[in-house]
């Protein structure tokens, strides 16, 4: 049993997207606890992937393939989950701010968050302040993640946070920011709750905000 858990984990880490389905099905046939497959194989694998990315051992291409592999595995298990086990750990709203069409960083964060068991609502790119505020009000997420790749669009993050505050919604949602030009100093300055330098850090932040492991 331990063996198949390790095999699934390795398959995700090394992006063996063609093998993942067979391995997960084998684990299910062996009656391995479904949560164990998710927590000890898929999520742990994405932790490893995140760390390897952080140290420069792998790059975006490998990370994308790992995420695709993880997703394939997760899709087989999800319909089989029942009751509490199928409950997400929390809801996260993600989007790239106005004027910015870049979404790889955001998409990687989303894949990692989904892998970690969160429900993620992707608002897409080029988001107006009004649209974000409307969605925060409607969806009531635990965490809002804002992304910007361009130095030209960074100030939009501040506008979003200011509007959320003005609308009296600031206390109801934790806000994390990220993207190439952003740093923790900027995050503090604009009144965000946290900054993640990469997808793995964003997942850690979300876990901390919601109080889950």
């Amino acid at each position: 049993m331990i063996d198949i858990i390790e095999q699934i984990k390795d398959a995700v880490v090394s992006g063996k997207h063609k093998e993942i389905e067979g391995l997960v099905r084998a684990a299910i046939d062996e009656k391995v606890d479904l949560n164990m497959i998710i927590d000890d194989s898929l999520i742990k694998a994405m932790d490893v992937v995140g760390k390897k990315f952080g140290t420069g051992e792998i790059f975006v291409p490998e990370m994308l393939v790992a995420a695709v592999t993880m997703k394939k595995g997760l899709e087989i298990i999800k319909p089989l989950l029942q009751g509490d086990a199928s409950q997400p750990k929390g809801t996260i709203l993600m989007g790239t701010v106005k004027g910015d069409l870049h979404d790889i960083g955001k998409n990687l964060v989303i894949m990692m968050l989904e892998g970690a068991g969160f429900k993620v609502v992707d608002l897409g790119v080029d988001l107006s302040v009004e649209k974000v505020v409307e969605k925060v009000r409607e969806i009531k997420p635990d965490v809002l993640g804002l992304s910007a790749l361009l130095t030209t669009t960074m100030p939009e993050m501040q506008n979003v946070i200011a509007m959320i505050r003005k609308q009296g919604l600031r206390e109801s949602v934790k806000i994390m920011v990220g993207g190439a030009p952003v740093d923790s100093m900027f995050a503090d300055k604009i009144g965000a709750d946290g900054y993640g330098k990469d997808a793995a850090e964003a997942v850690q932040l979300a876990k901390k905000f919601i109080g889950v492991n």
Partner: protein, 336 residues
């Protein structure tokens, strides 16, 4: 050697004689809202009209004091000519592509008259205008996108990088080789139109892909391109590329335009004897959010490290204060 702007830039590019001070160049855009306002020319007009394009480039030389003029402010000229729907933006927003016409990696239809497409022609005409105005006085710099960047535009960055990750090397190579002739033709045409130097931007960016991706997939193509384009080429690749500097020198470029994330001392130590180093004042923290004194510190650090040509690390944010750009010039005018 006379320490004129043109001489300083060209000599530094070939690592020749040093003049009275280090040259200041702009391989990528230095246009900010302040400059547009002072020059009375704004985006998107300056992306699509050759006279406006050239005049705004001149403003970088005459108003800010850079030793070069570079009229291409977007990275989408070739993409537009190859069928991307480009939104040319506004005074407050850089252009961007709205679609990926070759998401399926199908055969790319390169128009026979690609150099005559409006988005290409405008750059060539602007370079000729600049040549007539400041030829021999300031260095005229052109800019082309390499096949890696063009692939991002045509197939979508995430899609392209996913295929890289999946090991679809044949498909990647096919796309790069279909696009390589566009880069070569545009670079040659820019020299013919009046460019002294052409910047070749190819975003095998440090934080996106590894040195091994560059070495396996792009280095052979870069070697072919540098052999086929006779004039001096400066490579621009963003991000922390400390791990692949030697590969850039192997590729045969005359210069490398680099970001603050690459420590200039490391760069000089690793490849300073093989190509000219151009850079590397930080954009988000220093030029955009810092003070003129912060700018001065970075410029002096780069000069002391032995960077050959001083420049912002990449296209500057549109909200960059003009005084911070002027601070680059002032710091370099202090001399070596």
């Amino acid at each position: 050697m006379k320490s004129t702007p043109y001489n300083l830039v060209m000599s530094a590019l070939y690592k020749g004689k040093k003049g009275e001070r280090p040259p200041i160049a702009n391989p990528t855009s230095i246009v900010c809202q302040d400059l547009m306002d002072v020059a009375g020319i704004s985006f998107p007009h300056a992306h699509t009209d050759a006279n406006a394009m050239a005049e705004l480039a001149l403003a970088g030389h005459e108003i800010i004091g850079f030793d070069s003029v570079m009229p291409e402010y977007s990275v989408h000229q070739e993409a537009a000519a190859l069928g991307c729907e480009v939104d040319w933006g506004s005074r407050d927003r850089m252009p961007d592509s709205r679609n990926f016409p070759y998401e399926d990696f199908s055969v790319i239809r390169v128009p026979d008259d690609i150099l005559e497409k409006p988005s290409m022609r405008v750059v060539l005409d602007a370079l000729s205008i600049l040549r007539r105005h400041v030829g021999g006085k300031a260095a005229v710099i052109g800019k082309v996108m390499g096949p890696w960047t063009l692939s991002y535009h045509l197939a979508g960055t995430q899609n392209f990088l996913l295929q890289v990750g999946l090991g679809e090397n044949e498909m990647i190579n096919r796309m790069l080789r279909q696009l390589m002739p566009v880069t070569i033709a545009f670079a040659r045409a820019q020299f013919a139109a009046g460019a002294d130097i052409v910047v070749l931007a190819d975003h095998a960016t440090g934080n996106l892909v590894g040195a091994y991706h560059y070495k396996d997939l792009l280095l052979p193509i870069h070697k072919e391109m540098t052999a086929e384009i006779e004039g001096p080429l400066i490579l621009h690749v963003c991000g922390n590329c400390s791990d692949r500097l030697e590969l850039f020198a192997d590729a045969g470029f005359d210069g490398y335009h680099f970001e603050w994330q690459v420590d200039s001392r490391t760069a000089v130590e690793k490849v300073g004897h093989r190509l000219a180093l151009v850079g590397n004042v930080n954009n988000p923290q220093v030029l955009f959010q810092g003070t003129p004194e912060d700018v001065r510190k970075q410029v002096r650090y780069a000069i002391e490290a032995g960077v050959d040509i001083i420049a912002p690390e990449c296209a500057v944010p549109l909200a960059t204060p003009l005084e911070n750009l002027k601070a680059i010039v002032q710091a370099a005018h202090e001399g070596y």
